[in-house]
């Protein structure tokens, strides 16, 4: 890497951060068998404390996050994470909890789990759920297990087909496939929407259901969702809602009312918990009434004024995480919901949609907009035209934005748009920030025609310039071999 050595390369044999006093008590023999005892040293780098601190501080300074600049990464909802979330999650009473404590000493935490589950159900129109799943794809996998348990309980294990539209998230077909379903991909129509017509050939007793993202990955609302739900249910199938794009519809429409049976949310997107840099994420799974018996154990219930774990769920799919989920993230999400209130959440979604439409309208004269209709929380442009005219690709546009202190949008996704640039501004950005982004995009567009070579070598102002992603993918070197 340019400029800074790996921490392993900085290691000097024998250097220490701390010197421990000589051991003045007898060393105890361990009961572990010899085969489990380490005989070689760990090979960890040897540095002083200040060297370690400087190493990570300097790496951290190169990090780009939403606290540093605009981050319009499509479908990721990189909204600002209010610091009050952190303050609440850092309260002493939460920090020192242990998941194996007796439930009588966990009442506050259990109340948070219970209340957050209830609030999320109210926001989405579902009946009950679990906070155990660690992120979106884990939620999808849990959802597919719920589908299977439901069909098994009805003696309908022959339902193996699952419809996934081409405009869905990439994890949807992966989750369905991993859960043993046969994935049937259906195309979006010219408007970018799923229609009942393309589903009709699959509406039979082999159908397990459909996975839908609404709004879809083009940022468009699926206008036939109610009819689709009615027909899927009529033939005995189920509907799964990928909540990745929930930030578009809070307080306006609810997946439960649309007819979905199982959904997941991404707290690290819609509910302002950290995203990027590993999160950690949280992907609560919420279900309609008929799916409740199959939810993971333990449930948290309120009995005679106190909260308790309920493990007695004979039809449950079992446990899906070591304990109860990424609890610290759940505290942050509940803080966000309580600070915003129901009106505030609805306003957040309205502003997210307004911001996306503002960008779409201002930029569609410059960049090609393949699906030109009112968008929800994000919009998808194509760099196909400037690629044909100048050779400048979506990747080059993305790299040039980095030089302007803006995180690139999602590129080359969704796959149904060539040279896609998928832009999601979120509600937390000001008009001035959006205008600065528009200017940057217009400037890049102008340069593509005047001086494309400058864009081909972007970014120029970062410590690490254009990386060779092809070489990295073809010959990955993922470990340090000193």
């Amino acid at each position: 890497m340019h400029g800074q050595k790996l921490i392993f390369e900085q290691s000097v044999s024998g250097r220490r951060g701390y010197l421990f006093p000589r051991c003045d008590v007898p060393v105890q023999e361990t009961d572990l068998p010899d085969s489990l005892l380490r005989v070689e040293t760990t090979g960890l780098p040897e540095l002083s404390e200040v060297e370690v601190i400087r190493h990570y501080q300097n790496l951290g300074r190169r990090n780009f996050c939403v606290d540093v600049g605009f981050y319009p990464l499509g479908s990721c909802t990189m909204k600002y994470n209010p610091k009050v979330n952190e303050q609440v999650a850092s309260l002493e009473g939460f920090l020192d909890l242990h998941p194996l404590q007796d439930e009588q000493t966990l009442q506050g935490m259990l109340q948070i789990i219970h209340r957050l589950t209830g609030d999320l159900c109210e926001i989405t129109g579902m009946t009950w759920g679990t906070l155990q799943s660690m992120a979106g794809a884990h939620g999808e996998y849990t959802g597919m297990k719920l589908f299977r348990a439901y069909f098994a309980s009805r003696g309908e294990s022959s339902r193996t087909r699952l419809i996934v539209p081409s405009s869905s998230h990439g994890t949807n077909p992966a989750s369905a496939h991993l859960s043993g379903f046969e994935v049937v991909e259906v195309p979006a129509d010219k408007r970018g929407l799923v229609t009942l017509d393309v589903l009709k050939p699959y509406l039979d007793d082999r159908l397990a259901g459909i996975m839908l993202t609404n709004p879809n990955t083009l940022g468009l609302y699926e206008v036939e969702v109610a009819e689709i739900a009615r027909e899927i249910h009529r033939v005995g199938g189920l509907l799964y809602y990928d909540g990745a794009n929930m930030n578009a519809i809070m307080g306006a429409s609810r997946p439960g009312d649309m007819g979905f049976d199982v959904i997941h949310l991404n707290l690290h997107k819609t509910f302002s918990t950290p995203h990027g840099g590993g999160g950690p994420g949280s992907g609560p799974v919420l279900v309609s009434k008929r799916m409740v018996p199959f939810l993971p154990v333990p449930d948290v219930v309120l009995q005679k004024g106190s909260y308790a774990f309920d493990w007695n769920r004979p039809e449950s799919i079992g446990k899906i995480s070591g304990f109860y989920g990424n609890i610290g993230i759940c505290i942050r999400a509940l803080t966000y919901i309580m600070v915003m209130g129901s009106d505030g959440l609805a306003e957040a979604s309205r502003m997210a949609v307004l911001n996306a439409n503002y960008l779409m309208e201002r930029l569609k004269g410059t960049f090609h907009l393949p699906y030109n209709r009112r968008c929800m929380h994000e919009c998808v442009f194509s760099a196909e035209r400037i690629k044909a005219d100048t050779g400048v690709t979506a990747l080059d546009v993305a790299k040039a934005l980095i030089d302007r202190n803006i995180h690139p949008p999602t590129i080359y996704f969704p796959l149904i748009v060539q040279e896609a640039l998928m832009i999601e501004p979120t509600e937390t950005e000001s008009r001035e920030t959006l205008d600065r982004f528009i200017e940057a995009m217009e400037d890049i567009h102008r340069l593509a025609y005047e001086d494309p070579s400058q864009l081909k070598s972007a970014p120029l102002r970062t410590e690490v310039g254009r990386v060779d992603d092809v070489a990295a993918a073809r010959n990955p070197r993922v470990c340090f071999c000193g």
Binding site: I411, Y412, F413, L415, Q418, D469, V470, A473, R474
Partner: protein
């Protein structure tokens, strides 16, 4: 403009097929490799695998995306192009010279259902 050859037939998923008796070589078109961008990995089927027309047979990963390769005709795999495992870039460099796999086809008549070069050229034009 993408290269289109006259001695092969085409699918709407941008595969090319060349039938010789009852064996068919299958690859991806110049248009397909150009859309995918630089290809970094090819997942090949196993010899003796049996597929129906339209089944997913192989998959191709580029720096942009992963794309499935379908069976243009039903049949049994008799050869796979092992060179692509170490040199996936061959699909970018010479897509028509590097078939991905060869099928012993069940029904040679399926070949006539595929697009000829004129039809494929029109198909590409329509997409623009």
């Amino acid at each position: 403009m993408s290269e289109i050859r006259d001695d092969v037939r085409y699918t709407e998923n941008h595969e090319w097929v060349q039938l010789d008796g009852t064996t068919a070589k299958v690859g991806i078109t110049d248009y397909a490799q150009d859309s995918l961008g630089e290809i970094v990995y090819v997942e090949l089927p196993e010899v003796e695998d049996q597929f129906s027309q339209g089944d997913e047979v192989a998959s191709i990963e580029s720096v942009k995306a992963a794309a499935p390769v379908y069976a243009p005709m039903g049949g049994r795999i008799v050869r796979v192009n092992k060179k692509l495992e170490d040199s996936p870039e061959l699909l970018n460099e010479a897509p028509f010279k590097n078939p991905i796999y060869t099928l012993e086809v069940d029904d040679p008549d399926e070949y006539a259902e595929l697009m000829d070069s004129d039809a494929y050229a029109d198909f590409l034009k329509e997409r623009e």
